[in-house]
C-alpha cells in the first residue's frame, strides 16, 4: 500500500486479501525508516511487535475472521502506555519509569479491531504545549514545510499522518492539542466529548479537560477509528456510561438539515483567518452568525485551571527535579502551584455558567464553526507573532480559539482548509453539543465533499 492509502482503503484491501497486513506494515516501517529522522515524528518504533501482530492478523483473515480495521498501521502519542515502553509523556523525567506492562485501553481496542501499533510519537513536554517542540526529543516537523511547527502538543501524531508514515494516529487534547496540530499539518482530527473515549493508560495533564482522539486524512478514516474505540471502560473514572453511537454510517448525510452558524466576535481573527472562514461558510452555504458569549472569560478560566491542575500533578517532580523540565514548562507549572485556590474555584463555577449558556445556544444551532488556530503554522523556534496588529508571545496564543471550547468538553471535528496560493493549511473547528460527534463529523465530511477541506500527504512524502 502507498503512503497515501487511508484506513478504509487498507482495511478493504487486507480483508479481501488483495494485500496482506504484513505487506502494509512492512511498507509503513520502510517509510518510517526513510523519513523519521527529518520529521521527528516517532520516538519509538516497534517493528518486531508490529510484524508479529500483522502475521497474526493475516492468518486470522485467512481463516475467515473479519476486522473493521484489518491491517491498518497506527501509532500513538507517547503519553499512551505501550507495553514494553516507558510512558515518557514527552519528558526527560518519565522516560526513566519502568516500561508499561500493558497497552492503554484505546491501543487495545484498535488492535482488537485489527489495526497494528507501530510505536510511540513525539509530543510537547507533559502535553503543556501548542508548538510541537520538545527540548529532549527535538521538534516534530511539519511535513508540508519542515522549517515549520507541527503544532502541539500532539505534534508527532500529526507529523506522522501528514507525511503518510501511517494513516492513523492517536493524540490527546486538553486545550487544543489535537485541533492545533490538525490545523497546522492539514489533517482531520476529532476531539470527542469529554468522557466519551477511555483515557485509561494515558499520562494525564489536566484531568478535568483531558480527552483523547484520532488524526486521519479523511473523515471516513476518522469515523471508522472513532467507532472502533467507543465503549465504556471502568479504567477511566470520567468516562460516561452510554451506548456506543457509531458515526461512520451517518457521514454521507453531510450538512443536510443541520443548523450551522459561524462564530463571530472573539472568534473573528485576522484577515487571513477570516478569508478561510468565508470560504468555509460559502462551501456550506451558511450565512448565519453567532456570538459565543464570554469566550474570553472562558479562555481565561481554562488557562487558570490548566495552570493549577497541571502544577498539582507535577508538584513533587518540580520539587525534586526542577532542572529536568523544559524551563518554559517548569516556570509555568511553578507559577500554577502558587495560584490562589479561590481563583480556581471561581473558574470552576464560571465553567458551569458558561456551559449553561452554550447549551442554550445549541438549542438553536447544531454546529458552530470557528477557526482552529489564529494563524498558519509558525516557523520552528518562533517566539512571537502578530495577532490583531499586536506582537504577542506565540505559544499561549496558539490556543486562543480552542481553549474556550474544550473548557466545557464539547466535541469538535477539525477540517483542514487550503486556500488557493497558500503553502500551508489552516483548520476550521466544527463544534457540536455534547455527544453529537456525528454532527461535527458530518459538517467536516460536507467540507471534504465540496473539496474545501482536504488532507493530502505532504508533497515530498507522497509515493510517486
Amino acid at each position: 500500500m502507498k503512503s497515501t492509502s487511508g484506513v478504509a482503503e487498507i482495511a478493504r484491501a487486507v480483508t479481501s486479501m488483495e494485500s496482506t497486513a504484513h505487506g502494509v506494515v512492512m511498507a509503513a516501517l520502510g517509510r518510517v525508516e526513510a523519513n523519521n529522522e527529518r520529521l521527528g515524528a516517532f520516538t519509538d518504533v516497534l517493528a518486531e511487535r508490529a510484524i508479529e501482530r500483522a502475521t497474526l492478523v493475516d492468518a486470522e483473515i485467512q481463516q475467515g475472521k473479519r476486522y473493521p480495521l484489518a491491517g491498518v498501521p497506527f501509532a500513538v502519542k507517547n503519553l499512551f502506555d505501550v507495553k514494553g515502553l516507558p510512558t515518557r509523556a514527552g519528558s526527560k523525567i518519565n522516560r526513566e519509569l519502568p516500561p508499561a506492562t500493558a497497552d492503554a485501553q484505546l491501543v487495545q481496542r484498535l488492535e482488537a479491531a485489527g489495526a497494528i501499533c507501530l510505536g510511540a510519537l513525539n509530543m510537547g513536554e507533559y502535553a503543556y504545549d501548542f508548538t510541537g517542540e520538545n527540548i529532549s526529543d527535538g521538534p516534530s516537523r511539519n511535513p508540508h514545510d519542515l522549517a515549520h511547527m507541527t503544532g502541539g502538543s500532539s505534534g508527532g501524531p500529526a507529523s506522522a499522518v501528514a507525511a503518510g508514515l501511517v494513516p492513523l494516529s492517536l493524540g490527546s487534547d486538553t486545550n487544543g492539542s489535537i485541533r492545533v496540530p490538525a490545523s497546522f499539518c492539514g489533517l482531520f482530527g476529532l476531539k470527542p466529548t469529554y468522557g466519551r473515549l477511555s483515557r485509561q493508560g494515558t499520562f494525564p495533564f489536566v484531568p478535568s479537560f483531558d480527552v483523547v482522539g484520532p488524526f486521519a486524512r479523511s473523515v471516513e478514516d476518522l469515523a471508522m477509528s472513532y467507532d472502533a474505540m467507543q465503549g465504556f471502560d471502568e479504567g477511566d473514572p470520567a468516562l460516561v456510561k452510554r451506548p456506543n453511537e457509531p458515526v461512520a454510517g451517518r457521514l454521507e448525510r453531510g450538512s443536510a438539515g443541520l443548523r450551522i452558524a459561524v462564530a463571530d466576535g472573539y472568534f473573528g481573527g485576522d484577515a487571513d483567518v477570516r478569508e478561510v472562514m468565508d470560504a468555509v461558510a460559502k462551501a456550506l452555504n451558511v450565512t448565519r452568525r453567532v456570538t459565543v458569549p464570554d469566550a474570553q472569560e472562558a479562555r481565561s478560566a481554562a488557562f487558570l485551571i490548566t495552570m493549577a491542575e497541571g502544577a498539582a500533578l507535577h508538584l513533587e517532580r518540580l520539587r525534586a527535579r526542577p532542572l529536568d523540565f523544559d524551563p518554559a514548562v517548569s516556570e509555568r507549572l511553578m507559577a500554577g502551584a502558587m495560584l490562589p485556590a479561590a481563583w480556581i474555584e471561581k473558574a470552576q463555577k464560571f465553567r458551569r455558567v458558561y456551559q449553561e449558556a452554550l447549551l442554550a445556544l445549541f438549542g438553536e444551532i447544531d454546529v458552530i464553526l470557528a477557526p482552529a488556530t489564529p494563524m498558519r503554522a509558525p516557523r520552528i523556534g518562533q517566539k512571537t507573532a502578530v495577532f490583531g496588529g499586536v506582537e504577542l508571545p506565540l505559544r499561549p496564543h496558539l490556543g486562543v480559539f480552542t481553549q474556550p471550547i474544550s473548557f466545557i468538553g464539547l466535541p469538535v471535528a477539525t477540517a483542514p482548509i487550503w486556500l488557493d496560493g497558500q503553502r500551508l493549511p489552516l483548520g476550521v473547528q466544527a463544534i457540536a453539543a455534547p455527544w453529537r460527534e456525528d454532527f461535527a463529523l458530518r459538517v467536516a465530511r460536507q467540507l471534504e465533499k465540496t473539496g474545501t477541506a482536504r488532507a493530502p500527504v505532504a508533497k515530498g512524502f507522497a509515493d510517486a
Partner: protein
C-alpha cells in the same frame, strides 16, 4: 507594528488594563467593558518569596523571570474572571458523586 499592548497602560499609575490591545479577537460585545477595567498588579517577587517555601519549591534566579511572567498572565486572567457574575448557588463544574 506596535509593542505589546501599550494602550493597556493605565494613565498615571502602574496599573495595567486587562487584555485590551488584542485587536479584533477580543473586541466583542461581552468584552466591551475591558478597556475601562484596571487591575492593580501585585509585587510578583513578594508573591514568589512567600509561596515558594510553602510549596517546597526552589525558584532559581534563572527561573524567576519566567515564573513572574506566568503569574502576571494568570493575575490578568483572574482579574478578568473576577468580573464575571457567578451566583452563590452555582455549583462548581467538578461535582463529586458518592
Amino acid at each position: 507594528m506596535r509593542e505589546a499592548a501599550p494602550s493597556t497602560q493605565c494613565r498615571g499609575c502602574d496599573c495595567l488594563l486587562v487584555e485590551a490591545g488584542y485587536g479584533g479577537y477580543f473586541s466583542t460585545k461581552g468584552n466591551s467593558g475591558l478597556a475601562r477595567m484596571a487591575v492593580k498588579l501585585p509585587d510578583f517577587d513578594q508573591w514568589i518569596d512567600a509561596m515558594a517555601p510553602v510549596l517546597g519549591l526552589n525558584v532559581t534566579a534563572e527561573q524567576r523571570a519566567g515564573v513572574k511572567a506566568n503569574l502576571k498572565t494568570a493575575a490578568k486572567m483572574a482579574a478578568l474572571l473576577d468580573k464575571a457574575k457567578v451566583g452563590d448557588e452555582i455549583e462548581p463544574a467538578p461535582v463529586f458523586r458518592a
